[in-house]
């Protein structure tokens, strides 16, 4: 075992670095630039039962130290993901992948997970109950403990693979929701999804984004993410995957000290397509600097 290894819900990762869903597609755009098998794994583009075009454009707005997106879960639907995207992914990525799934009803989530469950390349499910960009779906399940638990139970019934629930930060009590998911059978919690945000164009005096609001991500949200990971990791017994504004190897260590077993990198991939490769390369030297022998040993190390 190397210094960077971690174990996420029973599956060994060479390192804890996981590109976050929606910032890495199905991997092959990045595989043009570097061998993506250096990653721990990656979380593929959020997949729904039916194909979705997503929201009207503009879908992107820039912010200080971050960005807002309102893509709205554009994806080809689970059938095409299985028939077209996963075979293409397999050409360039040979480890277990994390399947990110969204839905608009409890039945949708269970349907999509059940379909994907037969794919051997999928190691984990990451069920997104936190998309801020879709009305009547996504985030509405993640803002109530009862609804999040209901989705967890429904998905739990159709898969034995490790099941992570991805939570929204746009809630009053993140701990109550995380505990409800744990009680309902989740194997892990991933957080945070984006913060609901908005920008207004001074020239047109209208929202920059066609959908008006969207999910704010990027380095600006890192302290919020560290705080929520810390709160949740101290309240549940299952592993936590931390994300939100992670950009550097130092951020990864901070997130793990807060309680994360693995760390996702999102918006940083869009700005520096080599971000994850660079973080993995930089980790040993940064660990040396802070006297850290193995990453495993620091999980939840901040008391």
């Amino acid at each position: 075992m190397g210094r960077l290894n971690v174990n996420l819900c029973g599956i060994e990762l060479d390192n804890p670095i996981i590109p976050a869903s929606g910032t890495f597609g199905f991997g092959y755009e990045f595989a043009e630039l570097y061998d993506i098998n250096c990653l721990g794994t990656f979380s593929f583009k959020g997949t729904t039962r039916d194909p979705r075009f997503g929201n009207p454009t503009p879908r992107i707005a820039e912010c200080t130290a971050g960005m807002i997106n309102a893509v709205g879960l554009q994806n080809p639907g689970v059938e095409k993901v299985i028939a077209e995207e996963l075979p293409k992914m397999r050409q360039v990525f040979h480890k277990s992948v994390m399947a990110n799934v969204s839905g608009f009803s409890v039945e949708d989530y269970a349907y999509t997970v059940e379909k994907l469950n037969a794919c051997p390349e999928i190691g984990w499910f990451e069920v997104n109950v936190s998309c801020p960009n879709v009305h009547g779906g996504g985030m509405s399940f993640g803002t109530s403990p009862a609804a999040a638990a209901e989705v967890t139970r429904a998905v739990r019934r159709v898969t034995d693979k490790p099941l992570l629930i991805k939570l929204s930060p746009n809630v009053t009590d993140i701990v109550a929701i995380a505990k409800a998911c744990e009680d309902a059978g989740a194997d892990g919690i991933s957080l945070i999804n984006t913060l609901l945000g908005m920008r207004i164009d001074l020239r047109t005096k209208r929202p920059v984004i066609a959908n008006k609001m969207g999910g704010f991500s990027g380095s600006a949200i890192f302290p919020v993410a560290v705080r929520m990971v810390y709160q949740v990791a101290n309240a549940v017994k299952i592993p936590v995957v931390g994300m939100g504004g992670v950009t550097t190897a130092e951020d990864v260590i901070e997130m793990m000290l807060a309680g994360a077993t693995a760390v996702q990198v999102g918006a940083a991939n869009l700005v520096n397509p080599y971000a994850c490769r660079d973080i993995i390369r930089d980790l040993p030297a940064v660990m040396d600097k802070y006297g850290i022998e193995t990453l495993k040993s620091i999980i939840g190390g901040c008391k």
Binding site: G22, T23, F24, G25, E29, F30, E32, L33, K45, F53, G54, P56, T57, P58, R59, I60, A61, E62, C63, T64, A65, G66, M67, N69, V71, Q74, V208, G218, S219, A267, N269, L270, V271, N272, P273, Y274
Partner: protein
């Protein structure tokens, strides 16, 4: 797609708000006219996508308009400074269907990508006509540069202060075999309606990554959903779906 560091070897104003920047670096991934580059700027989160005006022997030429803080920052940069640039983005124009007498129509900062296109078409023996559209005479740029390539150049200005009074569509010649265009969306819609032949149109949209990962710039076409940064920015006239 390639990431590289480019050194600024020229950064000059062409008009009050339009600048030409020439950058030295590895241009090997720029393979077609109409592709774009995505430039990282210090202190700005997202890169700035800018179309390629020309590329030659490791020198990349871009022409940009100062519209916000990012492009203002670019205008203030000095020769010798370095920029982190993603190159080889987008599909670019397909030269094959041009015919003998292609027509190129550019509006404002939609003009630059037509320069390398005109150069390639002329090198391939085509008789190229270029219509350059601007608001007024003091915003006109690259008229002489297109003429120097050997293109027939027509200028149209909205206020009539230079060339034909009106839009590029008010200056359409009667005889052309195919068209290529780039410009603001209202212009593209007008060109789409006014042209009698097939053609290719280059679109812009706010982008997140510029290389196909974020799905920020998607559009619907008759041949399926496309990412403007990846399957675009150039679309065939026949596949375009106008929204709204």
């Amino acid at each position: 797609m390639k990431q590289g560091f480019f050194e600024i070897i020229e950064n000059t104003a062409l008009t009050a708000s339009v600048y030409r920047m020439r950058l030295a670096g590895d241009t090997s991934d720029i393979t077609a006219s109409g592709q774009f580059v995505n430039i990282a700027l210090s202190g700005k989160f997202l890169r700035r996508p800018i179309s390629v005006c020309d590329v030659e022997d490791g020198v990349l030429t871009i022409i940009y308009k100062v519209v916000g803080a990012g492009t203002a920052q670019m205008a203030a940069m000095a020769v010798g400074e370095k920029l982190d640039v993603l190159t080889g983005l987008g599909n670019g124009y397909d030269l094959a269907p041009a015919g003998d007498r292609p027509l190129l129509l550019g509006g404002g900062v939609g003009v630059p990508p037509l320069y390398n296109l005109a150069k390639r078409l002329i090198a391939a023996g085509k008789e190229v006509t270029v219509i350059l559209g601007f608001n007024k005479a003091d915003e006109v740029f690259y008229r002489d540069e297109f003429a120097a390539l050997g293109a027939n150049v027509i200028v149209a200005t909205a206020d009539g202060s230079m060339g034909v009074k009106g839009f590029v569509t008010d200056a359409l010649p009667t005889d052309y075999t195919y068209f290529y265009t780039c410009g603001p969306e209202p212009m593209l819609r007008a060109v789409w309606r006014a042209t009698k032949t097939s053609g290719q149109m280059s679109f812009e949209e706010r982008m997140g990554c510029g290389f196909g990962a974020c799905m920020g710039c998607s559009c619907k076409t008759l041949t399926g959903n496309k990412r403007i940064c990846r399957e675009g920015p150039v679309m065939r006239k026949e596949e375009i779906v106008w929204e709204g």
